[in-house]
Each structure stands twice: as structure tokens, then as C-alpha cells.
Symmetry: C2
Subunit: 144 residues, 2 copies
């Protein structure tokens, strides 16, 4: 006979390491039982005890954000074991460089059109528009 | 009497954990003695044995890039214990959003100038130019 009405499932961390999840468990606030992958990622990349050490380095009100960012990093590293979230940074940096270049070119065209408002600038404008939204080069190039 | 001419200093990892750095040391290729901070960061954030496990998950020719990206992540986490390199991603994402918005506005101005080439568009162009290079909002906002 089980007293299922009072059953509290262990948090994902305690379930993973097969220990009893006691009230006040340090992992429970961040690793609900319904998301086991989050703890598995953090455990694989940082190690559970190391992860807790990192959490203890930040103030209590910052811990939720710290867990979220560590879990994000861990997930990125599981997905891409070579570059992890540095691959995302590399991609975004290339995207910023490309957009800055396009914006500079667009502003140069606008300056020219202001200097010569009735001038034909088809050639520069079509270059701009051809660079619309996508692209941005590969992910994972070195930039560090 | 020391035979200093044949002395090979231990790698930064072996020096940190005070062990003999033997030929073929797994850490030596990535942690030269002249950069002790690189290993200290990796040790603090990932733990030395966990770090080696992560390296063993990638192919030998990918290990140098994996070490560089892990060292970058570790350094970012030491600098910013709450957000680590996720703070960099957040900042770059905001920068991409801002630049896309500015580029869209510049392209809209260019389209208008092409439709009405002799029209006065000072108001839109000065808005563009006011958004030049800097800014981009704070680092570390949530986006995950």
C-alpha cells in the first residue's frame, strides 16, 4: 500500500545520483523532476560538486540566473563538444561585423543621396538590398 | 649541483597540482608553464579530471580548439560568475538586434529616396546617423 497522496518526487539531481531528496535539498530549487536533462548536462560538463561550488560563489539572489547561464553553457557544450557556446559567440560576432559593414555602406549611400539628391544611385542601393537578412558565415571559427 | 641546462619546467597543470610533469603529460600541450592562469581558470570552473573527460570526447585534431573554447568559457566565468560567457552572448544578441533595426531603417530611407529622389529626407537620415557605433544596452540580460 503506497501513500501516493503525500508523495513528493525527488528533484532531478537526487534522482540522477539515486539519493533521497531531503527537504532543503540544495539542487531542488533549480532542477525540477520534470526536466532531468538540465541536471544531466550540468553534471556532465561541470560535475555536480563543482557546480555547487560555482553557485556558492554568487549571492543568493543571483543563483537562479547563474544556474540558467550554467545550464545554457552545459547544453551548448553537450550539443557542440568542440566549441560549446563559444561557437554561438563566434557566429554572433561575425553577424555583428557583417551588419556593421552593411550599415556603414547604407549610411554612405544616404550621405551621397543627401549631397546629390537627384543623382542615380541604383548601383549602391541594389548592393545594399542584396545583403538582406541571412548568411553570416560558419559557426565555430576561431576568434579568441 | 643542478643540471640546469637540461631542466624542463613542468606544465602549468602539473605545477598547480604539485606533481611531476612526465613526458607525454596529457596537459602539457595545452598548458605551457608561462601561462598558469589558463589552467587555474579551467581547474576552477570545470575541474581538472572533468576537463580531461570533456577533451576525450572530441577527436585528437579537435582538441586544441576544444581547449581554447573551454579556456575562454572558464575565463569568462571567472570574470563574471553569474553570467559567464552567456553575458557576452546576450550583449552580442542585443547588438545584432539593434544593428538589424538600424539597417532596416536605413534601407527604408534608401527605398524612399529612390521613389522620390529629389525629396527632402533630412528627418529620417539624421535619425540614422545618430545611431552610429556605440550603445547596445547592458550585458547580462536574460535571453535564454
Amino acid at each position: 500500500m503506497s501513500s501516493s497522496s503525500s508523495y513528493n518526487p525527488p528533484c532531478a539531481a537526487c534522482k540522477f545520483v539515486r539519493r533521497k531528496c531531503i527537504p532543503g535539498c540544495a539542487f531542488a530549487p533549480y532542477f525540477p523532476p520534470e526536466d532531468p536533462q538540465k541536471f544531466m548536462n550540468v553534471h556532465k560538463i561541470f560535475g555536480a560538486s563543482n557546480f555547487m561550488k560555482l553557485l556558492n560563489d554568487v549571492l543568493p539572489h543571483q543563483r537562479e540566473d547563474a544556474v540558467s547561464s550554467l545550464a545554457y553553457e552545459a547544453e551548448a557544450r553537450v550539443r557542440d563538444p568542440v566549441y560549446g557556446c563559444v561557437g554561438v559567440i563566434s557566429f554572433l560576432q561575425q553577424e555583428v561585423d557583417r551588419l556593421k559593414k552593411d550599415l556603414d555602406a547604407a549610411n554612405a549611400d544616404l550621405i551621397m543621396l543627401h549631397s546629390f539628391p537627384c543623382h542615380n544611385v541604383n548601383h549602391t542601393w541594389s548592393r545594399q538590398n542584396g545583403r538582406g537578412g541571412g548568411g553570416g558565415g560558419g559557426v565555430g571559427g576561431r576568434w579568441w
